[in-house]
């Protein structure tokens, strides 16, 4: 019986092809938009996650604090209050995985006829661990390089390309402010940072070398930044608290006085970025769902017209023995077929659109089975929901009135 009814629904839809297709178009656009938006949203979320993973996880940054001289405050990092000793003390705290004191700066680097201005960071081997940064060729510098302030460097991919072109940088000698440095290894590509900086346009050198030979420092052992990695995300609040206490103690800051350092939780920044993309993709999905709703209303509209047009047919069917539920089922089936078929086409178009966006703009898209299933389920529900009222209207027609209808 259901097959016979499906056949009839198909025939009824075929009888007015243009109208059926236009009705379907509402669903096609709705589902297509939902699928497309979800793919783009999920793609963006994934990209953010990648960026966060590249940044390193569970990270804090300690900045030197500001000083006040003559009423003018210098801003963070203006006073070199942090020391290597602070870093070593923080490393002993429970819950701390790695500590990397850093001395960042910019310098012109020269190799043969080429030169390039890039960021040069003096740090310790712990930095690579904290940022989970791989050395692709050659080797990383060691603690002994830091102790003896050797002139060695690790070079990022962008800096290497600009300075060396196709040449292998490992073992080559470059000059930074006239001092020769040997490239020990090359760093794996990291891509853009959260703020859009190219993280691969960089050079890493031992901390002591940076302080003594490249940038100089206010006093021996001072550092501008300390990167601290906690063992787990759960340990971060405790580490933050104990680190603050420790540093206040070490810097002899009295109760009620401001810290002379700044502590920033990098993961929190990343989390909020991830949160905002999630919100964004939900929002996009919600907006797209509105078009699904409009598509559903379109189905209802056309089904109501169809019921009116076919009043006489309904009367005939009732006269020869159709029950209310037979008529209901017949019209409901038509609505469901239209919405499910529209949904299927919309699904294909949405996936196609997502792939096209990916091909044209390089935006990451993720087509997940779950969003397809959700879109399909929603479409079928919309079909039943919006098809029910017209179908019920048809089923409740008075057979005599319906038969008399011209």
């Amino acid at each position: 019986m259901i097959f016979a009814m499906l056949g009839e629904a198909w025939r009824a839809m075929g009888a007015n092809r243009l109208r059926t297709m236009l009705t379907m178009l509402g669903m096609v656009i709705g589902v297509g938009a939902v699928v497309l938006m979800m793919s783009i949203g999920q793609g963006a979320q994934y990209a953010i996650k990648q960026t966060i993973a590249a940044m390193g996880s569970n990270l804090f940054i300690l900045h030197s604090g500001s000083t006040t001289s003559g009423g003018a405050r210098t801003g963070s990092g203006g006073n070199f209050t942090l020391t290597v000793g602070d870093a070593e003390a923080v490393a002993e705290l429970p819950g701390v995985q790695t500590v990397a004191p850093m001395h960042p700066g910019n310098a012109q680097i020269v190799y043969g006829p080429n030169n390039w201005n890039t960021s040069v960071t003096g740090t310790t081997p712990g930095f690579l661990e904290a940022r989970s940064w791989q050395v692709t060729s050659g080797a990383a510098f060691t603690d002994s390089d830091v102790r003896s302030a050797t002139r060695v460097a690790l070079i990022g991919k962008t800096a290497a390309e600009n300075l060396f072109g196709d040449e292998n940088p490992v073992g080559k000698t470059i000059r930074i402010r006239q001092s020769p440095f040997v490239i020990l290894g090359t760093l794996a590509a990291k891509g853009q940072s959260m703020d859009g900086r190219d993280q691969d346009d960089t050079l890493l050198i031992p901390l002591t070398t940076a302080q003594r030979q490249v940038f100089g420092s206010q006093f021996p052992g001072s550092v501008r930044l300390i990167m601290v990695q906690a063992t787990t995300q759960e340990a971060m609040p405790a580490v933050e608290k104990s680190m603050t206490e420790l540093l206040r103690q070490r810097h002899r800051i009295r109760e009620g006085m401001d810290n002379d350092f700044f502590l920033r939780n990098l993961t929190a920044v990343a989390d909020s970025a991830e949160e905002s993309t999630r919100t964004m993709s939900l929002l996009l999905g919600a907006i797209a769902s509105v078009s699904l709703l409009v598509g559903g209303i379109g189905i209802m509209n056309i089904m109501l017209v169809s019921v009116t047009e076919r009043t006489r047919e309904i009367g005939i069917r009732m006269a020869i023995g159709a029950r209310e539920r037979d008529i209901l089922l017949q019209f409901l089936l038509e609505a469901i077929i239209i919405s499910v078929a529209g949904c299927f086409i919309g699904l294909l178009l949405g996936i196609g659109g997502a792939l096209l966006v990916n091909a044209l703009t390089g935006t990451m898209v993720i087509i997940s089975g779950s969003s397809a299933v959700v879109a399909f389920g929603v479409a079928a529900t919309v079909g039943i929901f919006f098809g029910f009222y017209p179908a019920r209207k048809a089923a409740q027609l008075d057979p005599i009135e319906a038969l008399r209808y011209q």
Binding site: M1, R312, I316, R317, M318, I320, G321, A322, P399
Partner: protein, 235 residues
Amino acid sequence: MAEPVIRIEGLHKSYETSAGLFPALKEVSLGIAAGEFVAIMGPSGSGKSTFMNLLGCLDKPTAGRYVLDDRDVAGLGKDELALLRNRTIGFVFQGFNLLPRMSLLENVALPLIYCGVEREERQQRAHEVLAKVGLEDKANSMPNKISGGQQQRVAIARALVNRPRLILADEPTGNLDSHTSEEIMALFEELNREGITIVLVTHEADIARHAKRQVRFHDGRIVSDQPTPQTEHAS
């Protein structure tokens, strides 16, 4: 007289109109036995169409009793009425009322869908009744490709497909020329000879004389109920 198929006692039917309650049928009582061929006659507005709608279980009486095939129709729900229309009654309309998008075979098989008959049996039975009305070779034609007389034959085949005890025909020849009308009436007579009870609404005396009994309505009441004069019928 054989067992009654239809027993009607004190049937009333009123309609709500803007001018108040309009009584379309007043105190109608009638019995129709199995195998009868009855013509319901009367001018328009006499209540004969209302009477047919009640007979066909398309409508419910305001008051009175209607027993069809030993069942009191007044007490039945909508689904049970639909079942009666499907199994016990076959309808033939003035305007043929075939569904335009379906082939003749599908039109004829349609009532069987509503009582859950399997596809193969549906087709087979539809073929049988189409053969009976002489249109088997047109089974796959569409209704708009055949003549009015042929369409009415298909409608009769549709009415027959579920082997009803009763056929209700509402002005079945109203849209046909006199020659074709004769053919259709001959078909009804043949069906009646096979034992199917036929109730026919018409206002044409020529058509009514094919029936064995003529019931005349006027102003919502039965004004005469008599056998068709044999001499006329034989002609």
